[in-house]
Symmetry: C2
Subunit: 505 residues, 2 copies
Amino acid sequence: MSLKKTRAENYPDWYQCVVNEADMAENSSSPGCMVIKPWGYGLWERIRDIFDEKIKSTGHENCYFPMFIPLSFFRKEAEHVDGFAKEMAVVTHSRLSMQDGKLVPDSKLEEPLIVRPTSETIIADAFSKWIKSYRDLPVLINQWANVVRWEMRPRLFLRTREFLWQEGHTAHASAAEAEVETKQMLEAYRELCEDSLAMPVIMGRKPEYDKFPGAVDTYCIEAMMQDGKSLQAGTSHFLGQNFAKSAGISFVNRQNQPEFAYTTSWGVSTRLIGGLIMTHADDEGMVVPPKIAPYQIVIVPVVKNPADEDAVMTYIEKIRQDLSAQQAFGEKIRLKIDRRDKSSVDKFWEWTRKGAPIILEIGKRDADGANVMVKERIRLGTPEGKQIVSRVEFCTTAAQRLQTIQQAMFERAKARLLGNIRTDIATPEQFKAYFAESNQWIEDGKPAKVAFVRGKWSGDQNSDELLKEMKITIRCLPFDQSGTQGTCLLTGKPATLDVIYARSY
Amino acid sequence: MSLKKTRAENYPDWYQCVVNEADMAENSSSPGCMVIKPWGYGLWERIRDIFDEKIKSTGHENCYFPMFIPLSFFRKEAEHVDGFAKEMAVVTHSRLSMQDGKLVPDSKLEEPLIVRPTSETIIADAFSKWIKSYRDLPVLINQWANVVRWEMRPRLFLRTREFLWQEGHTAHASAAEAEVETKQMLEAYRELCEDSLAMPVIMGRKPEYDKFPGAVDTYCIEAMMQDGKSLQAGTSHFLGQNFAKSAGISFVNRQNQPEFAYTTSWGVSTRLIGGLIMTHADDEGMVVPPKIAPYQIVIVPVVKNPADEDAVMTYIEKIRQDLSAQQAFGEKIRLKIDRRDKSSVDKFWEWTRKGAPIILEIGKRDADGANVMVKERIRLGTPEGKQIVSRVEFCTTAAQRLQTIQQAMFERAKARLLGNIRTDIATPEQFKAYFAESNQWIEDGKPAKVAFVRGKWSGDQNSDELLKEMKITIRCLPFDQSGTQGTCLLTGKPATLDVIYARSY
């Protein structure tokens, strides 16, 4: 009973089907914006809570800064405004009034306000007031917020005009300390993606021409989607003294000299949910890693004869009590008992589409035999995906089972990533031929038609044209550079840099 | 060592001093908007977490809706747009470009977008797609979000152009069910304010003329500030079928007939932090109720001789370990050990200004004697505010101590509220004379110069003029109506309605 569109039939339509059928989000009547529905928002809440703990345990504190940024703030950092000017929501009026029977904008603002596409400028302004001496440093803050970038081809979770994210902003007394911070938070993103989202990533540095506007260095994590394309899942920027100079964040250093501070910024967004879908979902719908599942176990009562209802529900209550004593991943197991007035088959498919990790179907026979029918989402349709297990055994090992699922999901995705990075492409001709193919989805255990190529790059910052022609991008310069010499796959020139070439979102 | 301004000297300046000195928030360079700093945001996080649990335990789910609302949505509900048109941020362009060397708004939108002042219209639009049958009802959702109202006289936490809040929105199959929901959530707000913020409130209904624009009934909780003014701390609206009609939320009912749904909405905001300040802060700064304190206990090491440092820190570590085994209010005690490179006196005052409930000052003598020096914020400056207690006794009773403080704070505020509602004012003349006085702060245990009057009102919806003249408002019609007849304090006419008259924020 697969989705209307499978990955093989039409990958983009399949993605949309997964989001719809799991009821995670929908397009809104507000153009280009999405409504994040409870199941999608529940995933974000889990991601937020896990990462918020990391943010705090690494010494950062949460704040909240205004979402309106005076236009003049963008004039200060030329590269920054160049990078964002084309996709900014601009507030120009502060009321509506009736004119000729029509509601129209009124009370024009003296200075237009930009709805934040990111907050470097407004936060740097605050930092310039907070920081006077090296004693005030480091400043380590973060905010959870909505941001706006005027996307022309919106797509749920991947590219919407408004999205939710966290943005960390820090200021330091030395470049070295700021660089350590930048990499520490990139590592925190890797850990979030791999350990909680079961989504393996490649860590690296962006090429010069693809840095964050205003940054000295941009680091990123890149994940492989099931169609062989790359998704930038998080970025961490070393901003050097650029924003400090434009906003005047200067401090008196230990040598009693004035110096500009060194700043960083780093962010991940609701885009991660798009990555999660394209890493784990299958032709039956969403598959959610247990660690971030709003419900890890869903119980569907199966009552064929109304006279059995009490016995079934009493038995389910016993299971609930047994499970409430168990912890998975250091927290209470998140359990849902689905008592809605719907058929148990419909409920099963609904939770399957949503990707609940474990569904228990409990009927009179299970109650009588002290058993449970366990269905694991990742093994749907296989003989092992459906097991009758004694209640006691299931309840005492449920946490272990969830951990095993989490691990299996990561390993499957990791194998897909590692198995689809071509390193044997040696010449520009082979390279062109490889990417002349179009992407398709990667069947588990089989090689992709087109995925990632790891090869040499000359470092020529004018590679943009060639890349555009081939519809590919340089995703990153991975941290594990070999240092050997070879041939640039774009130009054929001698080259030493290792890069990841790929199609991308 | 009181603040620059005390309550008696200048109450509004005192408020600003408390916010500054506790480092809770500051005015931003973005006009009329605030930066919420870690201590202020920490309070909001605690309020959010506590109320989020309540929202979920009462069957609601979190979503996220776009912050941009098409202008045309506001045309649909005439009262609603009338209520908000004068204070709306309007987005009219989607990029910036360089013209004659100046950055200017470019790419005019076909339809202007309003930055949500509240989300009834956009959420009703979504509901109209979600709801087809009585089986789809009730829909119970909530979002945590930022909203914008173009305030002309902004004040930190109380009135800023952008603020943070939660807004619940529900749809039901009957008016009765929606009314139960409206009152249930008002009761949840009372519980939040009284049990967690230690801020007593009066529950009631707003007069017709002061309802939420588009509502059938608006219910509210009102709190008394230390200057005798009232602060509307939360509202819950029964919207009847008004928004359902304008957005087309119709469903097929059990009788198989089409019917418009009955909706509600309810919200509390970062304004609660303003209420918290004006309920509890004193002339020495902020005082935070333990239940929502980011840190409930702060340890300040007092090292006079550097040779003692190891011994003091080892002893403090022992206290930390003892406390980590304790729970207060069902959660781990939130403890901060302040090791910054500052004098212990400065640290003590900093945490006093922030209002940390308990400060422990720990020096060599305490370590040697196995004691702790306990300073309770609410008893600052009194002999009992400073106690030497054995470590074991302090650690094993810390949770109890925090609960006692919480209770004492509530009782003090409750006594202030109950002691300052005048019920003996019988005539319009007495009434006018009472409010001819200006407000001042209410010294504990003493009656206010001007605070609340509980008295009769004719119910005349054209009372606005008279109220404005006297610079007072009708805060609410309290739920406990006496039903007796008396004299309207505004007009002298016979009247049966009991209302609370007061100055307000």
